[in-house]
Symmetry: D3
């Protein structure tokens, strides 16, 4: 393994993958209640998260799964929406990316969190086969919390899709056992 590759493999801070996508809610992206369509927001979040995953891995990345997206607040036509995505943890060839979605009040300038999404991406070679990615180094309090939760979320996702048995999900089991 040559030095160039090794360099890629050094753990990288979460902040290096930060991706900010600010844009308007356009008329073609709204539902009959004049709010941003769930599906359109999912597509924006997917693009922002994929750029974060690409910035961390410096590879071509493809969406592996959407683990959870909660739509807590509707986003009206004409809003300024900011999607902020950051890699939260890197595994062998995959990365969990979380994005927070903010809207801002035009008159006060105040920002409110509208929702949050958890995506998983896989790095692939030009031929499309999975390829290793550098580890992630969380630094802030929030980055550390999200880093810690990532393995638990990964196990949940594997159980839900039938790829892992509940008894093998050691981290998760502890969660339910502890009380």
């Amino acid at each position: 393994m040559d030095t160039e590759i090794l360099k890629y493999m050094e753990p990288k801070p979460a902040s290096e993958s930060l991706t900010i996508m600010t844009d308007l809610v356009l008329p073609q992206e709204t539902n009959p209640l004049n709010n941003l369509f769930g599906g359109e927001l999912l597509a924006r979040m997917d693009r922002a998260c994929s750029i974060a995953a690409r910035r961390h891995s410096r590879r071509i990345v493809v969406t592996a799964s959407v683990n959870n997206v909660a739509f807590t607040k509707s986003i009206p036509l004409g809003s300024v929406v900011t999607v902020e995505a950051k890699v939260t943890r890197a595994f062998k060839t995959s990365m969990e990316v979380i994005c927070d979605v903010w809207i801002e009040d035009r008159e006060s300038g105040e920002k409110t969190k509208a929702n949050e999404g958890i995506y998983t991406f896989v790095a692939v070679s030009e031929m499309g086969s999975p390829i290793g990615v550098p580890l992630l180094k969380p630094e802030t309090k929030l980055e550390k919390e999200r880093y810690d939760g990532a393995l638990r979320r990964k196990q949940l996702s594997l159980i839900l899709s039938g790829k892992m048995k509940p008894e093998d999900a050691t981290e998760l089991k502890a969660l339910f056992m502890k009380e």
Copy 2:
């Protein structure tokens, strides 16, 4: 409560909400590998699932969350893609909807499952406030399995978003305790 409302409230078979959305993968929906963009597929699935939820509830519905979408197979430009969505379980004002995504080989006509998505929708009044929906009656084997898993998935989602404590998730706890 008048008769009209009661009628809506009778349990309805899952099959009544079946929604089939067959369409091509157009050039504007592909990523640099010439496959359907993750984000675009999420948007299509969201629309198909929302129609299924609307057919079950006969109400305006809004996306509450995407619980899990796994992208197991890439879908190339020009493919014929079929999204089949059905409500799997109804709660007080929300519905879990699962959609299966199929692609078909042009020459053999054979269908392959490309991926699967789990969404939650909430029925709302014209004013946007949550409103009750009829219960769901699963009939086939698959409908019953998905119905049974729905409560477990709901608890998981509530725990992940911090709205439920693990010790209160009775169904889930059983899952991890049983062995």
Copy 3:
């Protein structure tokens, strides 16, 4: 001619080409009266019919002509629209495809026919030259009626485009002579 090709050439039932495309009317598809744009509906119908033609022929297909589309009912923003397309008759390398467009009332669930379109597709090789397609076997009453009318419609289309003289249109002539 080898067996594989012969197999393709066996007459196929109309039902095998059935294509169902259910989708919402999105804001970007509406005209100033807030109804689905004629042009947008034409594009949707063209996609649904091309999938039906592809399912029948298992070939690449290209639109040869739109023979008749009548817009009898306007389709408002937010509607659930179902386009159902089926091959009605196959000729040497071309297929007539008819699609019916339905909208459904959200509250009653009732379906109303909004319009109907008649398209012709040609099957082509990878190089773009016309290629033979299997014959079609109509089964239901409606399939048979549409099958019978197809030749008449083909002759009309050829006369309109100046490719056939009225005196050679035997089927059509009979129509006007019979009374």
Copy 4:
């Protein structure tokens, strides 16, 4: 009936409705063979024809039917496409509009006719009910030919949709009788 309305009702030359729509074929409008999608071209033609109908009637217009569109020549990505639409005949509240589609060779500048479409539009009031339109005065040889054929095409369309009996289609009958 006041003078203002009478003025609208004077026959108008076909040339007053001429609408020229020149545009590029963009990547999002192509099919897997890299040619302009049939459906996309139908939408462009519909927009050009609707503007021609609006210019003739000075009313809101809605597409009533597509009577015939033949795709004789495929239009590759990057082409410069010109759609030229003109009203060919006006009836009580409806207008037949024909559009010719041209592509031009970049190097020689030569123009070739790619296809032709026949649409019918209805003029409507702000409330959506049909409203009278001025008559059309054809001037050139082509305008006169198309004007003459319009009634025949209208009868054909009515017969095809079951709204007229063949024996009442006097113009058409003559066509088949004459030989």
Copy 5:
């Protein structure tokens, strides 16, 4: 230099590049005030001007700069908009193109100028390197005025982007010196 190339190089009248793009303002192109988005109009103007530059040069052309676009009048949803573009002057490998944007009143048919844009395009070979274009011969009064102003605008643009020193902009200097 062979005759074919020489022929291309003969000065061509401005009228040969005239490009007319008439289209509707669609719902997906409007801003929250229900007027055509500045950005969308810029894209339409860019396409119309690029076709004019291509018609003059018969080459592939790429946008080099937008020199000035003034939005003097807002364009409401549903308007019929006509963009008219013409090359105003050709330099060695670049062309200045000006387009005028008109909207028309549905009821009176009257046309009003909504805005005007000045773009610069460069002709390139298939490999993407700049390539010579024919000179332009202005004929009408307006064509001559715009031709005369083009060099002045070019110098301004070069000064603004720091590629020319004010003292070398002889044409411009004269403008400020003359009084």
Copy 6:
């Protein structure tokens, strides 16, 4: 004038309007050379700049003019593009906004400036009439340089559109006189 309004009117640092729009180049946004379309980039820049103007003024803003956009570097399909917009100077009711466009190399992560655009926006009331905006306080070296150049650019724009006589453009005159 009440305190609330006065507060809006306090000069605000340029950094408060900073808007970052990172996104991919999607297939539907490319030209025949597979690079981002000039017109599409203009639309993105317009949206980013309008958000910056809105953040500074906290008003509805409309594009008044595009003063200069130079396309110095083509942006290939699949690129990660970052548009960074900041208000450079505020006048009575209008603001000049400059945006820089960056692309980044996937493998090295290196950022290169692809182009730059200068736009002018006007703040308007809900009724669409111009309304006052706070002054701008430049802080960094680049912010100060751009602030200083803004008045000169404004005069140029007014002269070009015939709204100012060259002899009244005091700032500009000095530029040409000084040597």
